[in-house]
């Protein structure tokens, strides 16, 4: 992670904020994570998330949330918006809880 970028929120119940923060950190963007809406596209001005940055964010969230992301769902999914990513992380948490 880069110096000067936002810390990941620590409240476990604020999952969307954690996801938004992780995406901003790995996209090396200076945008305010709170300004990202669910419908913000992943190639918005000042916030372009390429594939490897997206995957690094997933790894960071795995550590942060102590969860294993759903690999098969990941391979089958195309992500267009920030909301898509949040929904995926929530689905991974639900899958983990079912195990």
């Amino acid at each position: 992670m880069n110096p000067g970028t936002p810390e990941l929120p620590t409240q476990a119940d604020d999952l969307p904020a954690q996801v938004r923060a992780a995406l901003v950190v790995e996209a090396r963007s200076s945008i305010d994570p709170a300004s990202l809406g669910d419908d913000t596209p992943l190639d918005a001005p000042g916030f372009r998330l390429e594939s490897m940055a997206f995957l690094r964010a997933m790894i960071a969230l795995e550590d942060e949330l102590d969860v294993r992301m759903d690999e098969e769902l990941l391979a089958r999914t195309k992500f267009a918006t920030v909301g898509d990513v949040i929904a995926y992380v929530q689905a991974s948490l639900a899958t983990e809880a079912d195990r």
Binding site: S51, M52, A53, E71, K78
Partner: protein, 468 residues
């Protein structure tokens, strides 16, 4: 978000071999854990994907491995069992070569050609196919230069029940027709690149009179193919940190084998394409240097590249693209510029315009050395090795052998007796047209001029202009 249907069960589970894994390393070595510096970050690609969406191009485990800060990364048991079909690979002393040279040096070679792909590439294609299959991917695509990587991925894909499509650089496709047959044998679909199957291939065919193709183009075709085909992913054979990690089984085994002989190499040499053969051989030996375990005696690790594709010895340390797709991240690496047109040398696996960011950083920080040799000298040493050791090396491997010969002759002349380890990364049984050209005096050395280099450097992206 859009999702594809769930994948069917993979064949892998049904075809697990039961093989004795004695002697196969239990873990790969991640040099990232011991680096005294941070790697420069990747930068966003020059252009966004057409629809702005993002898909996971890699299984998460490969991403974890590419950023691993733990030195020892356990090798999955199923991968070790596959490795055990030809590993540990032999380490031999090249006494015939030593006698011929009259050298006081001791030359050891680690031979990686003893599998059906004929090269070290199977060391990473197996774990890659394993992780892709576990992630539910049904098909992989790739670009291949000399054909060794394409063959290795074809084999590994077949092991784990996934389909494989290979784009093979046109000149190699023509020079090595039986490489294609071996890939077909393992079920792969093989196309000469530039092909008419992709936009990037069609553009190249329309705009370029150069019908030879190149690896960056073949990779771009494979990337485009995977992007437009459901549940397909692009696999890369060298250069990525995880592929170098997988190749460290070479150096780990060699270190154990030399330890058993009471030897510790003074010099380690390996050829340089994008970096996985070199990194896989050298990094386990650099571990002692980086962690202070060698008492300051520091092994010399020498990268050997073609004089006609001199990325480390004459390139620049700059951000560049890793292929022609334009949609992959920019990496800081030693590069000639992605527009560099490599002369039609026979070591197809060493024609890549750049080398990996990991190897590049080590060179930048003075931890490894680099040399470059013209192909006529390389083939002379390759032929000498065949005649004295009874093993025909791939042209890529002959580069490393030539460097070992140079070091052994220098030691003889200076009255020293170093132990030299050379990685013979593959056999040259598909390279007879190259050896024929050498033996008949038809082989020539292309000269890369400063003007050639300046023109290629002009193709480097201007980082300040890269959108963030």
């Amino acid at each position: 978000m859009t999702t594809a249907p769930p994948s069917p069960p993979q064949a892998a589970a049904a075809t697990s071999p039961s093989t004795d894994t004695d002697g196969v390393p239990e873990a790969w070595y991640s040099i990232l854990a011991d680096l005294p510096f941070e790697l420069p970050p990747d930068l966003p690609p020059p252009v966004a994907r057409a629809d702005g969406s993002v898909a996971a191009q890699l299984p998460l485990e490969l991403v974890r491995q590419a950023h691993a800060r733990k030195a020892d990364i356990p090798i999955p048991e199923e991968v070790r069992e596959r490795y055990a079909s030809w590993r540990p690979t032999p380490l031999r002393r090249a006494r015939g070569l030593e006698r011929h040279l009259g050298t006081t040096a001791r030359i050891y070679y680690k031979y990686e050609g003893g599998n059906a792909s004929g090269s070290h590439k199977l060391n990473t294609s197996i774990p890659q196919a394993y992780y892709y299959a576990r992630a539910g991917v049904r098909r992989v695509t790739t670009g291949t230069g000399a054909g060794q990587w394409g063959t290795a991925l074809a084999m590994a894909s077949q092991m784990f029940g996934i389909d494989c499509t290979v784009y093979m650089v046109e000149i190699s496709f023509r020079q090595k027709p039986y490489r294609r047959v071996v890939m077909n044998l393992f079920g792969a679909d093989v196309h000469a690149s530039a092909s008419d199957r992709t936009e990037v291939g069609r553009r190249y065919r329309e705009s370029s009179e150069d019908a030879r193709g190149n690896l960056a183009l073949a990779m771009a075709e494979a990337i485009e193919d995977a992007a437009v085909t459901d549940m397909s992913r692009f696999c890369v054979g060298s250069g990525e940190s995880y592929s170098i990690l997988h190749q460290t089984v070479i150096g780990i085994e060699a270190e154990r084998q030399l330890d058993a002989l009471g030897e510790r190499p003074d010099i380690v040499v390996a050829s340089m394409g994008a970096g996985s053969n070199f990194g896989g051989t050298a990094f386990p030996f650099l571990r002692r240097t980086l962690t202070g375990g060698d008492g300051g005696s520091g092994v010399r690790c020498i990268s050997v590249e073609p004089a006609s594709c001199p990325k480390l010895t004459r390139g620049v340390y700059a951000y560049d693209v890793t292929d022609f797709s334009g949609v992959t991240a920019l990496e800081q690496m030693y590069t000639l510029g992605h527009g560099f047109v490599t002369p039609a040398i026979h070591a197809g696996g060493l024609r890549y315009h750049a080398t990996s960011k990991l190897v590049s950083a080590l060179y930048h920080h003075g931890l490894i050395e680099a040399v470059a040799y013209p192909q006529t000298e390389v083939f002379r040493s390759g032929t000498l090795f065949a005649q004295t050791e009874g093993l025909v090396p791939a042209p890529e491997s002959a580069h490393a052998i030539h460097a070992a010969v140079v070091e052994a002759e220098r030691a003889r002349d200076e009255g020293r007796s170093p132990a030299i380890l050379v990685c013979v990364s593959g056999h040259g049984h598909f390279d007879m047209s190259a050896y024929d050209a050498y033996l008949s005096g038809q082989l020539v050395d292309d000269v890369v001029t400063e003007d050639d280099l300046a023109r290629a450097r002009a193709t480097l992206p201007v980082v300040g202009d890269v959108p963030s």
